[in-house]
Amino acid sequence: MIILLAEDTRDLNRVETAVLEHAGYTVDSVFDGQEAIDAIEKNGYDLVILDVMMPKKTGIEVVEQMRRENITTPVLMLTAKTEVDDRCAGLDAGADDYLAKPFALKELLARVRALTRRKKEYGDEKLSFADLTLDGSTFELVSENTVRLSVKEYELLETLMQNRDRELDTDYLLEKVWGSDPEATPDTVWLYVSYLQGKLRSVASKVTISGERGGSYRLLMAVREQA
């Protein structure tokens, strides 16, 4: 796990680097905002820690530039400012969390752990139901055969597998899987349920999805003739 630390106060930079390294992280240390940008554009990091008040570029400017460039690495802001507005400015600029100075090193480590943990959103986790496995790291749907699912197919099936004993209605699935997508309608849900029904057949699984267009859906074990 590699962390970029940008902190212009030399003593503090040294102490924070030592503590993080002691905890097992690899740390690149820099001393101003421009050095931070250069390092971020050149290397990949699992986490970026930015002091707000730094020479050349502030921590807020650095995080804004990162997000403009579509760099989604988690960012922890270190701020001497404890005013609510200043903390909000950092978060609104694209930071994921902040820590107000002075802070306990123990809390720094806990926040670093929390932010690096968050990266595994789809996880490498595998979900199973009857003769079916859904692999979160490859989006593979596995039974006798294997097919690859699209992102939305994966999310829909994941939701159905996580709620295997419940009927889920169209509105819930629309909100959960398509969120704020204004183009998605109840027919979108129906189309994706239909995709999954076909794909369950094509991997020769006995699992099927029950439910009518616009209604509620759930996973079912079907007694199906094997071709």
């Binding site: 097919v147 690859r148 995709y195 794909k199 094509s202 094997q226």
Partner: protein, 209 residues
């Protein structure tokens, strides 16, 4: 090569007759679907009578004598037809039609679409025995007949198989690279299979409108 030297002996005309009979049946289904649904379900449909050299080579590979009996009775792909369909369900439409033809028996049927091979290969294989005057008579049943091998698949399965075929004949790929390519081809096969299902689903939905 004169007729008497042919491994097919005097049977080439009957092979050609059955081949064109099957092709006519396929044409008829194509026309019916075109008339009813407004599209041709077949993208292309190559066919061949297996070449003399290739048939003799196959006999040697299987350690059987290079005789007319081997070519027409032991080996079943003297007539070969590949039906490449636009959509998944059309594969099964042709399958159902061919197996219900009169005087036709299924000798072997393998659904590698529902039950894909471990490398990702998907296709529907059918070996038919067609009873016809002028065909070969074997020791067991007295009805003259010839065999035909029919492969049915979608366009994407066909594209995949063509690429996989290239790999098979490319000998000088280093070990680790070979493994990566095999793995990636499997991934492509699974993505294409997924897309075939999606396209069929969309087509069905358009049809319902």
């Amino acid at each position: 090569m004169s007729e008497s030297e042919s491994i097919y002996g005097p049977y080439r005309p009957v092979l050609e007759k059955v081949q064109s009979y099957l092709m006519d049946e396929i044409s008829m289904v194509r026309q019916n679907v075109s008339r009813e649904n407004g599209y041709d379900p077949v993208e292309h449909c190559p066919t061949r009578i297996k070449g003399e050299d290739s048939m003799r080579e196959k006999c040697r590979r299987q350690n059987i004598p290079e005789t007319t009996y081997s070519a027409l009775e032991t080996i079943h792909d003297a007539i070969g037809i590949r039906i490449v369909c636009a959509f998944l369900n059309d594969v099964y439409l042709f399958r159902d039609h061919l197996v219900s033809l009169p005087d036709t028996e299924i000798v072997q049927e393998k659904d590698y679409i529902r039950h894909a091979k471990p490398n990702g290969y998907r296709s529907y294989h059918l070996i038919l025995k067609i009873h016809t005057p002028g065909g070969l008579v074997n020791d067991v049943d007295q009805k003259p007949h010839v065999y035909a091998e029919i492969q049915l698949r979608t366009i994407s399965m066909d594209t995949w198989a063509a690429l996989e075929h290239h790999l098979k004949y490319k000998k000088n790929i280093s070990g680790s690279n070979q493994e990566l390519i095999v793995e990636e081809l499997k991934r492509c096969a699974d993505e294409l299979a997924s897309t075939d299902v999606s396209m069929q689903t969309i087509r069905d939905m358009i049809h319902e409108l």
